[in-house]
Symmetry: C2
Subunit: 738 residues, 2 copies
């Protein structure tokens, strides 16, 4: 294998010699140009799968979770050094590894003056204080580096007012509440979920709300009845009563002060007052034990049935304020928030294995390194998997047993929890190079939410390589069953092309570090993990998410005992990685992309067709563009089928691979969404409309139907033209190159 590599790397003179020898010794003629046709080697994949070791992953996780490693803290620095040590290991490291720093705007509570939330009596006495910390059950929670629960990017400030209950804090929720309750100068308590974190405060402020408390409703995380301290962690995976979900309360991704610019020391920074998409009013997350005390004391009319939760009381709107019959009668809620913004140096750790045939083509595999607390699941379960993949590949490289055809880049991103910052700054700094050369981005953040099944979201181009890998990987303990066969039992869909297949979702949000790659750069991306059985639990995520209970103890006892699901993810994601790095022809499936576009088109025609016809806005150009796209995929598939890449010039495979690699880029339009930072992908950008179709079109349609203003219908037409042009432009890249 390595010999072939060297032949192609060092060039044709050696290759010719091979040719001459073949001539002399009559070796078969159709195996020409072996040096440049390195293809995926199934024996390498088999070797990789065999060497991925669950015990190694467990050990990785133990190392990574020794201390809390919130971005830019001492614990984070320890993980930087650990990653570098591993990737620079002479026996199992990568070809090269280094760190890259950005000076980014983060938000922290004040260590000396903790945030406080109290109930204050009319005489000014604090008669109830919300817990400042989560109750310790293991020594992990007692680590002094555990950060107090807070809402990152909530402003500092003091707010005092009557409490109201506003469900999830959506616009609809506040609108409904405001019909009977005057929200001016109130504090709203809302649940996690239903709307993005910052939206809960941004929406509330529009109604006169002056402070927001956010809690995790037990019904949404603990399967209702499982919320007593005796039933929750450390007795189960459920969230303990004092557990609090931390999080970034920022809408945009990337460093907030340096939009579209990498955050270097001297980079221009916008004034903090110009930051958009963060809470305008003090905001603080609290545990459900405290929420229980507050909500069950609320006065006012009972909230609607759909707003009710698991507490053994009726959830009232609030008078505003508390019941006269409660111990909080006539009292206000007082919030004293001392968060502060700080510029801090955050590191990405980068590592590479150089490609032997096409070093200028990159497969990037990444995950963030920073956590909120110990982050055993989020993100260290992913990092533990990444380190096992690099260990196995690194050993093969160091032993001279293998080199990838293309280069593999590993990224251990910093400051993801604050808004995907490390990966976004990287994408901004290197955008020219990355756009030109990156074949795919594989993201494995939380690798294991639960131990029943694989799950994935991806660009349709990458669906097939994920499924191919899933077919090849066997589930440990169920040796006869493939990941694919297991997966299809838990989540499937009917594809017009393939019939019933595991459901690979679309990457429409900015939930992890794929955002800058997929949405900003237009790089074919995928997000792979293992999950729990959604039919058996209502948990919106694993219950220790962003709490001080997300520890090695928790992960090893309740998420993945034996670490076999971690192993499955490592094998599957590693298999995908190897197919992308080593296949002579990129394993991207164009038919799947056409199918997805047709699905979106049909949904758009069904939902918008009649109305748009009345508005004299034709959807025909869009239909034609999708048909052209389909025809172009057929044409390219045919060309591929009729090619013999072993015999033909290596430039032919390169040319087709360029078409495959750059297809996703064709959907990028920097003018499409001027108000959505970093979102440039016309097909997969985030969408607020409930209609699962082209996001610009769907959201513009929603707006126009609400307002019925001509200028809003114009925007519908504009988005229709934008998506039409993008799909047609993509089709042009797939037909004959000239």
């Amino acid at each position: 294998m390595l010999k072939k590599v060297l032949l192609c790397g060092l060039g044709g003179a050696v290759a010719l010699t091979v040719g001459i020898l073949l001539g002399h010794f009559g070796i078969k003629q159709d195996s020409t140009s072996p040096e440049c046709v390195q293809d995926v080697d199934e024996s390498v994949i088999a070797q990789f799968l065999a060497e991925v070791d669950n015990n190694q992953i467990e050990e990785n996780l133990r190392q990574l979770t020794k201390v809390p490693h919130m971005a830019t803290t001492a614990g984070d620095e320890e993980t930087v050094k650990y990653m570098l040590k591993r990737w620079q290991d002479p026996d199992s490291g990568l070809d090269d590894a280094w760190r890259e720093e950005y000076m980014v705007f983060l938000s922290f509570p004040d260590e000396k003056t903790p945030n406080r939330v109290s109930v204050v009596s009319p005489t000014g006495n604090a008669i109830f204080n919300v817990s400042e910390k989560e109750k310790p059950y293991t020594t992990d929670q007692e680590d002094p580096a555990v950060v107090q629960p807070y809402a990152a990017y909530s402003p500092a400030g003091h707010a005092k007012g009557k409490l109201v209950y506003a469900n999830y804090g959506t616009m609809e929720d506040y609108t409904h509440l405001s019909q009977t309750v005057n929200l001016s100068d109130t504090i709203a308590i809302v649940k996690y979920g239903g709307a993005g974190r910052p939206a809960k405060a941004i929406n509330g402020a529009l109604f006169g709300v002056i402070g927001v408390l956010v809690y995790t409703e037990p019904k949404d995380i603990n399967d209702n009845e499982m919320s007593d301290a005796s039933q929750t962690y450390p007795h189960s995976w459920y969230m303990p009563p004092t557990g609090v979900e931390r999080g970034s309360y920022s809408f945009d991704f990337g460093d907030l002060l340096t939009p579209y610019l990498a955050a270097k020391e001297n980079t221009y920074r916008i004034p903090e007052s110009d930051i958009k998409g963060i809470p305008p009013i003090p905001t603080q997350p609290i545990g459900f034990l405290d929420a229980y005390s507050l909500i069950c004391a609320l006065d006012g009319s009972p909230a609607p049935e759909s707003w009710q939760g698991a507490f053994n009381c009726t959830y009232n709107f609030g008078g505003p304020g508390f019941k006269d019959t409660s111990s909080f009668a006539n009292s206000d809620v007082q919030m004293d928030i001392y968060n502060k913004g700080e510029l801090r140096n955050s590191s990405n750790v980068m590592g590479v294995i150089r490609g032997s045939v096409e070093p200028d083509r990159y497969i990037i595999y990444g995950n963030h390194r920073d956590s909120w607390v110990h982050g055993a699941i989020d993100p260290s379960s992913g990092t533990a998997v990444m380190l096992e993949i690099t260990r196995v590949l690194g050993k093969m490289v160091k032993a001279g047993r293998w080199k990838p055809r293309r280069s593999i880049v590993f990224g251990s991103w910093g400051a993801e929890e604050f808004g995907l910052i490390g990966s976004t700054e990287y994408a901004e700094e290197y955008h020219s190079k990355l756009r030109a050369r990156t074949v795919a981005y594989i993201n494995v953040d939380i690798s294991v939410f639960g131990n029943v099944s694989l799950q994935a979201q991806a660009s349709p181009a990458a669906q097939s390589v994920v499924l191919t890998a899933a077919k090849q990987v066997k589930i440990p303990k169920k040796d006869s069953m493939s990941v694919y066969d297991n997966w299809i039992q838990y989540s499937n869909r009917t594809s017009p092309t393939h019939g019933i297949i595991p459901n690979v979702g679309f990457l429409t949000g900015a939930g992890s570090d794929y955002a800058a790659f997929m949405h900003f750069l237009g790089i074919t991306s995928m997000d792979i993990s293992h999950t729990y059985d959604r039919r058996k639990t209502n948990a919106r995520t694993y219950p220790a998410y962003h709490t001080a209970y997300d520890t090695f103890d928790y992960a090893s006892k309740y998420i993945d005992p034996g670490f076999t699901s971690h192993q499955t993810v490592a094998r599957t994601a590693g298999n995908v990685l190897l197919r992308l790095s080593d296949s002579l022809l990129l394993p991207f499936n164009l038919t799947d992309y056409a199918e997805s576009l047709e699905q979106y088109l049909n949904t758009a025609l069904t939902n918008f067709g009649n109305t748009l016809a009345q508005k004299k806005i034709s959807m025909e150009p869009l239909s034609n563009a999708v048909a052209k796209f389909r025809a172009a995929t057929n044409r390219l598939n045919e060309l591929i089928l009729n090619s013999n890449f072993i015999k033909e010039s290596p430039l032919k495979a390169r040319s087709i691979n360029d078409q495959l690699m750059l297809l996703e880029r064709a959907f990028i339009d920097p003018t499409a969404f001027p108000d959505k930072y970093g979102y440039r992908h016309v097909i997969w950008t985030s969408r607020t409309s409930g209609v699962p179709t082209f996001p610009g079109l769907a959201d513009a349609f929603d707006q126009a139907r609400k307002s019925d203003l001509q200028e809003d219908w114009n925007q519908v037409h504009r988005h229709l033209s934008i998506v039409t042009q993008a799909i047609q432009g993509a089709a042009y890249t797939l037909v004959d190159v000239i």
Copy 2:
């Protein structure tokens, strides 16, 4: 040659056979992989140069200028058919040729109700009428298809007011004038030059001006004294007294109703009222004979010395209005403008010669086809040259004597005169494909302004290939002298790297169809032509520019008798084209790019350094980025020097060529200039500041120095970061690929 081509096209099996034969027969070992290393063949270039025929160019021009061919008129359609006939010719045509249509927003005078400009007495009588047409000297001017002089995109409307003289109509001019003259409700007469066409009206309206007349000052076009009808065309190349420069009065390029979208039938169009950058008040161009009558009758104080022109009178500001002693005493100027906007189908004619080794790499060569009237010089001199190039290359292709390594695309653009519309719509429609695959764009619009010397503007990357071609082409009639040696006598500069060389300018504006390629797509572009001796004439351009006198008669008598300068341009531009299409390694010079960036950096440091230091804005990151860029170019040059592309894998040359091709793309930033439509190139975008350096930085600095507002200094800092990131990002693309 063709055999090599076929070998690479059909692939390695044949190549291996060659290897085997070599083995058997002992042919030298270092000539491996011949099929993929097709390089530029000097004998092909020599053949091309020999076959370029001045008589053919003359005949092309005669055919192209038979009738006026303003965009979308019957005459334009005739030229479309002529181009197609030529490019589809079985003996000298291209591999393929076709037309592409866009539905674009143009502006025309009303044929039935001509625009009128009059002097109207207090009693309402028109006592003077500006000529509606140019005086005929040949039958050409009598063609009924000659369009009346007008200002395209000036609104229709009626304006009546006292006349004032406002020099060139810049903001400074109006400001100066308004210090002593009340401009409310006045009509301003201004000269061409000094500011863009629409600016003259946009600026004036800010001061209360309600109509604008624009004329060509004889001093600026006819070398002062040469303005009598006996001295001008048809007696010389000078502009006749009734000659009028037509033109587009639009600031933006591309179709004005479909920004960033190709103008197809169903494409979303913005409301006409949303168009920016066109005159808000009626505007009309007039001849200098009429301007003489108006200006010499003006009352008021004498205008400054620098505002005076060639008329034998003092140019006064205007009272406003005319002198009591003149026959126009107390009279107003009345403008009745009937222009109307219309959606019209405009065609590009496209032709290709397919590349044999890398068909997915394009060299685009283009020129517009539409003129204002007969357009012998603008643009048909360029089209005549393009047709001669395609004839010579087409014959070689059809005879099987040659195939380019890369694909060559020819574009005959429509509706350029209205704002580079055809080329811009093409760039918008195919942006994904063009960005990914285009090596270079060569523009030859007006090929011959005059017959003394070549001139060129280009990206620094392309300077060297233009100079190489210029060295190789001999001047007809001066057979011992190269184009290069002639050029250097007329226009030169001192390069730190090369010493004294011909001055290749930068492509900083949007003067012709290179704009969308260079500024919007970031494709290395160049603009080549032949010009007059600027030391011997003050003409701002050739005097018949955009008039009805720009005819075959004019061109053949006064611009290029014998068509040898056309021949020189065809040979030079064709030579450049062949080097770009056929060189194994792209002939782009990185050192020249580094030199240009260093030149801009030094200018910025000199002009802004001290002020920015006081403002605590560091220029060090910019200096560092330029130094990194220089180091990266050295590194890549070294790699190239140490490579043997004949011996090494064809993927190595491809990889380096990708770096060279995509370098220009690295300077594209869609967020840099949100208010400048289509301008995304951080280095070469248009600039209003007089300091020849990075345009965003220079213009922001001008603004900040004027206002001294913190927010404006912030913009300076922002632009500094933008250009720093772009240059550094470009450097990253040039260093080792991983």
